[in-house]
Structures are given as structure tokens and as C-alpha cells.
């Protein structure tokens, strides 16, 4: 077990055709035993980061330290890591048992008895004891996934690396394996870096989430923190499903410090408390509101509501997703299943000021959150020290 640090880690792919900066000056400080999920859209550099930690990709610039030791130049086998690949990468010509024991045979001097004891133990943990003598080709995707994870557990490494390990499973199995992996992490307590493009996976599994975009760190923080206090528009949009609504508005201020957000077809009064942290010159802002924070209320006061027409109603059972047309832009609302407006109907939407996020229109940086640091203040400073 060990602490993992990334110091200004940069990866540049220099092909004859073009130069791509895959990861740019990434700083991470991952504590011993922590479960870190790196999340972002494809091409954001998350897999490259993982592969650099694994030693499968060279580091162009910066330093990676595992347990306070620089590992940049170490070959993968000398880094004391184990990795689970999206494709599982099991050796097709070896049985499950041989797959799991192979790394121990190669890189440790454990005797055969100890190795088979460890394999047995890991197999029990993964519930694959019955499969030990089968070849990978005769296993289902879910079973192969378990074997791949078991192969990593057997090594008892300092660091686990997961590269989208659940992406090839169907939705139900994926959710099941999610809790299973969390349970295993709690059991073995090994520092883990887990890469995924699925924000739900990130939210449910992570101690802390690292959000990358275009090779740059956007935010690092606990799931609640990135959800309630996204540092910028990108994070606000990426975390949460359906994603946050963004509307360009103009901010009109009153003499008492309060103000009004004026959109194309609506206006929404906000109090001085919300606007207080804002620069007095700011007038062009983008306001964000999560679909789950919006309610449909015909009796809401005009100055605290938006009137729009319903485009599509999506019924998912537990909730309804309602898509509305707000000045030509899609506006998403998540409501309890009993609220089911018909398509074309005009409805009045309202939301609490505490749920409002304001972003700088030009840079996308967040300006103010309705509930600043309400229940996430303890972790806020971590992100300050580690964020780029």
C-alpha cells in the first residue's frame, strides 16, 4: 500500500503528422488506501494518465512517485502494481488458475503452496472457485471480469489500476460489479486508481473524483463536492444525469444588493446573499440549475419562475424526465412519476435559489454556488491544494 503522487506530469504524443498534448501538467496526491476515480470524456487523457502510472507509456515531463519513490523510469514489472484492463487481457492459453498465479510465479519467489493458497483466497473473494480450471474463452464476460480482478488481487500490490473495467458488461451486471469492487476495496484497502467515462460509476465508487478534460485537471474532490460545487461549467455539465441546465442571462442589480437574472423569456429574482461574492461589474453570466432541483408548480410567483412549453416526456418509472423548450434551447427537468404534463402544455417551473449556480459566460469558471460549502466545506481545501 502506498501513496501515489503525480507532479506536473505531462504526456506529449509526437507523431510525424501532429503533436498531441494528451496530459498537461497534472498534479495529483493520492493518499494511501484511497479509491480515486479518474473521469472525463474520451480523449481527455484519463487512460494515458493511468498508462503512465502503470509504465506502459513514457512520461514526457514531470514525476510520478509511488510510496515516495520516483517510478518514472521503472519498468511496469518493477512498480509493484496490478492492472485490470477493459478487455480483461487474460492469457487465452492458460487456465484461470494459471492466469491468476502467473504474475506471482514470475515476479515473486513465493513457493507453489503459498501461491495456490493466495489464488484460492482471491478466487473465493471473487466467487470464481469453480472456474479455476477453465480456460478464459469458456467464460462469460462477467466471469472474465472477475478473473481479471482476481488476477490483480492475488498480487497484493501497492497500487491497483483499473482501466474502464466494467465498460464491456451489460448495465445490470455493471451495477452489481460496481458494488462488488467497492466491497473488495474496503476489504483489501489498497490504493486504487480507477478510470471510467461513466460519471455514475465515479460518483458511486470514489473517495475522490478526478475530472479531466483535454488533458487538463478540472477538479478533484469528493463526489458530493464536485456535484454541489463544480469549479466550472465543464464539471457541472459532466457530473450529474441528466446533466445540468445552462441558460445565458443578464444580471440586473438593485441598489440593495439583490438582483434579477434576465433571460430571453423570463426573469428570476435573486437575493443579495447569492450575489454578494460576485464582482460588481459582472453582468453577463450563465446560470445553471440541475434537472432534479427544478419543480413544476403552477402557483409559483412570476418573479421566481420560468414559463415554458413541454417538448417530450420520458417515463423511466421512478421518475419522469421532462424536456422543455426554453427560447429554443433544451431545458431538462426531473420530476416524481406522478407529475406527467402532456406534450405541448405550458408549465411553470420554479427552483430554490440555493440550487442555483452562476458561471462566467466567457471563461466558464464558476462564480457562485447557491449553497456554498454547505456540507462539503471540509474537503474544499483539499481541492485547492491539489487542483491545478
Amino acid at each position: 500500500m502506498a501513496r501515489l503522487e503525480l507532479d506536473d506530469v505531462t504526456k506529449v504524443f509526437d507523431t510525424s503528422a501532429e503533436t498531441i498534448i494528451a496530459v498537461e501538467e497534472l498534479n495529483l496526491d493520492i493518499k494511501d488506501g484511497e479509491f480515486i476515480v479518474v473521469v472525463g470524456p474520451s480523449g481527455c487523457g484519463k487512460s494515458t494518465t493511468l498508462r503512465m502510472i502503470a509504465g506502459l507509456e513514457t512520461v514526457t515531463d514531470g514525476e510520478i512517485r509511488l510510496g515516495d519513490e520516483r517510478i518514472n523510469e521503472k519498468s511496469p514489472k518493477d512498480r509493484d502494481i496490478a492492472m485490470v484492463f477493459q478487455s480483461y487481457a487474460l492469457y487465452p492459453h492458460k487456465t484461470v488458475r494459471e492466469n491468476m498465479a502467473y504474475g506471482l510465479h514470475l515476479s515473486t519467489d513465493l513457493d507453489g503452496e503459498e501461491i495456490s493458497r493466495r489464488v484460492q483466497e482471491a478466487a473465493e473473494m471473487m466467487g470464481i472457485e469453480d472456474l479455476l480450471d477453465k480456460k478464459p474463452s469458456s467464460l462469460s464476460g462477467g466471469q472474465q471480469q472477475r478473473v481479471a480482478t482476481g488476477r490483480a488481487i492475488v498480487r497484493e500490490p501497492s497500487l491497483f489500476l483499473f482501466d474502464e473495467p466494467l465498460s464491456n458488461l451489460d448495465a445490470k451486471l455493471r451495477k452489481h460489479m460496481r458494488t462488488e469492487l467497492s466491497r473488495i476495496h474496503a476489504e483489501v484497502g489498497i490504493t486504487t486508481v480507477y478510470v471510467t467515462h461513466d460519471q455514475e460509476e465515479a460518483m458511486t465508487m470514489a473517495d475522490r473524483i478526478v475530472i479531466l478534460d483535454q488533458g487538463k485537471l478540472q477538479q478533484i474532490g469528493e463526489p458530493k463536492e464536485v456535484y454541489h460545487e463544480p469549479v466550472n461549467r465543464f464539471v457541472a455539465n459532466f457530473i450529474g444525469s441528466p446533466s445540468m441546465n445552462f441558460v445565458d442571462v443578464e444580471l440586473e442589480r438593485n441598489s440593495d444588493g439583490s438582483g434579477t437574472l434576465v433571460g430571453e423569456d423570463f426573469s428570476y429574482d435573486v437575493s443579495s446573499r447569492l450575489l454578494q461574492p460576485l464582482d460588481s461589474g459582472t453582468t453577463e453570466v450563465e446560470f445553471g440549475i440541475r434537472p432534479e432541483n427544478v419543480t413544476i408548480d403552477p402557483d409559483a410567483p412570476t418573479e421566481k419562475s420560468i414559463e415554458t412549453t413541454v417538448d417530450v416526456v420520458e417515463i423511466v418509472g421512478s421518475d419522469n424526465f421532462i424536456y422543455l423548450d426554453l427560447a429554443g434551447e433544451e431545458f431538462r427537468v426531473r420530476t416524481p412519476s406522478e407529475i406527467e404534463p402532456s406534450e405541448g402544455e405550458t408549465v411553470r417551473l420554479t427552483f430554490d435559489e440555493d440550487d442555483v449556480h452562476l458561471f462566467d459566460s466567457a471563461s466558464g469558471e464558476s462564480l457562485v454556488h447557491g449553497l456554498p460549502g454547505a456540507d462539503v466545506s471540509a474537503t474544499a481545501e483539499q481541492s485547492d491544494t491539489t487542483a491545478d
Partner: protein, 279 residues
């Protein structure tokens, strides 16, 4: 009463049998003739299916007595096996490099190699002869082996790089690196064992190509001691003695037998190798 579906199916089978006969009859004729006496072979009375009493292995024994066929076959086996082994020895790492590594000139080199497969080799006979003459390799077994190794190398590289590229996921090698291998041992202990089907397929094609090669052996040899069976047949055919069809066909049968046997032995692997899925 046949319904439409059955009738068209029956017609299909009739067609298939007709084409199959068309394809198989020449082979049958070769085998039939090889078991006849010289006179019976050209006699119109022999018939399509000769009487059992007319069959004889005389032509086969004649081959052994009259021509140095043991030498020719020995040479053929030596040069084909040697060319197969040597070309694979270079093609395996070469193909792996083309499939996996990014080095300057990779594309140019690869397309050069592949282009040589399509190149009309006969154009090169004179310069190649010059080179081999210069190296003192003309009329030697070594010279033939070198020529055939070079001749089959491109097709081996081409076949194997496709397999390495598609048949072996890169992640498996990476898993091996993490499990404790370095690049070389990961290749030797993980990639190569997974590649046997493809290597077997490449070996088969290399062997067939080398065995059947006429041009290089014909150009580079004149002495009987270094002649291969394929070229020897040409000399029998072209010799100005009375054309003995039974002897010619018997030598053809002998010539074709080893590749057929070799194919039969490796057939199990070949399909898989070309299918691109690791065993």
C-alpha cells in the same frame, strides 16, 4: 413430387457435381496414367477406367532406376524446409515489428516488402544471377536456400503481421509486462505461444511456395546434384527421349505428394491461423 425449393436444390447439386468432376478429372487422369505401362498409357483401348490387370507400379520403379530422383527429392526437402525455417526466423520478429512498433520508415519498408510479392520475379533473373555468381553461390544448395528464403520472406511477413496486429490484443502483452515480463520475454513467452496457428499457416505457405518454386532453382542451378524435383520434372518433360507419359505422371504424383502430406499435417492449425483468433 418435388416442390420448387427441393428442385432448385437438386439442380444445385447437379451443378456442383459437374463442376467438381471437371476439376477432379485431370487429377484422376494423372494418377491413372502413372499406374499404366508406357504403351497402355497412350493406347486408346485402355479406357477411362483401366482394367485392374493393366495397373502396374513399373513407372515408379523406373523413375528410381533412370533418374536421380532420390537426389532431387532430397534437395527439394532440404531447400524447402531450410527456406521455411530461415524465412520464419526473420519474418516473425520482422512482422511483429511492423505490427507493433512505430519506427521511422515503417510504412515505406512494409510496402516495399509487400510489393515484392506482386513483383514479376522473372524481370530480376539476370541481376539476381549476377549477384549470386558474384557471391559464388550459383549451382550450390546454399545458394538455392538463400534465394528461396528471400523469395518467401515477404509473404511470411505479410501473413504474420496481420495476425499480430489483429489476433493478439496489445493488452495481453501489457498484462504480461505488468506480470513481470520485459518486452522480449513477453514476446517469447506470451505472444509466440499464442501465435502458433499463424506461424503454422505461414510455414505451410512458405513450404509450398519453396517446394513449387521453379524459376530461381532453374536459373541458379545447372548440375543434377543440386537440382530440385520441380525442376527435374521439367528436364524429364523436355528430354528428347520418347515421351513416356506414365513416367512423367508418376513423377508428378511424387512431386505433389509431400506438399499434400505437409498440408494434411498442418491443416488443423491453418484455418485458425488465417482466422486471426489466437488459439
Amino acid at each position: 413430387m418435388l416442390n420448387d425449393n427441393k428442385r432448385s436444390r437438386a439442380l444445385l447439386y447437379v451443378g456442383i457435381v459437374a463442376f467438381a468432376l471437371f476439376a477432379v478429372v485431370p487429377y484422376y487422369w494423372v494418377i491413372r496414367t502413372s499406374f499404366l505401362t508406357n504403351i497402355a498409357a497412350i493406347s486408346p483401348d485402355t479406357g477411362f477406367i483401366p482394367a485392374l490387370g493393366k495397373l502396374t507400379v513399373e513407372s515408379y520403379t523406373q523413375i528410381w532406376d533412370r533418374f536421380a530422383f532420390v537426389t532431387f527429392f532430397r534437395n527439394s526437402v532440404i531447400v524447402s524446409v531450410a527456406a521455411t525455417v530461415i524465412s520464419l526466423f526473420f519474418a516473425i520478429p520482422g512482422a511483429y515489428a511492423f505490427a507493433r512498433l512505430d519506427f521511422p520508415g515503417r510504412k515505406a519498408l512494409f510496402y516495399t516488402a509487400v510489393f515484392t510479392i506482386m513483383f514479376p520475379w522473372i524481370v530480376l533473373t539476370i541481376p539476381v544471377y549476377e549477384v549470386f555468381y558474384f557471391l559464388d553461390l550459383v549451382n550450390t544448395i546454399v545458394g538455392v536456400i538463400v534465394a528461396l528464403s528471400i523469395f518467401v520472406l515477404p509473404q511470411n511477413i505479410w501473413l504474420l503481421q496481420g495476425f499480430f496486429r489483429q489476433g493478439i490484443p496489445e493488452n495481453i502483452e501489457e498484462a504480461a509486462l505488468i506480470d513481470g515480463h520485459n518486452e522480449l520475454t513477453a514476446f517469447l513467452r506470451i505472444v509466440l505461444p499464442l501465435s502458433w496457428p499463424a506461424v503454422a499457416a505461414a510455414a505451410l505457405f512458405a513450404f509450398l511456395t519453396a517446394w513449387n518454386n521453379f524459376l530461381w532453382v532453374f536459373v541458379l542451378t545447372t548440375d543434377e546434384e543440386v537440382r530440385t524435383a520441380t525442376v527435374a520434372i521439367y528436364y524429364i518433360l523436355g528430354s528428347d527421349v520418347l515421351r513416356e507419359w506414365n513416367v512423367l505422371m508418376a513423377s508428378l504424383v511424387l512431386l505433389v505428394a509431400p506438399p499434400v502430406i505437409f498440408y494434411g499435417l498442418s491443416r488443423r492449425y491453418v484455418g485458425e491461423g488465417l482466422g486471426g483468433t489466437p488459439g
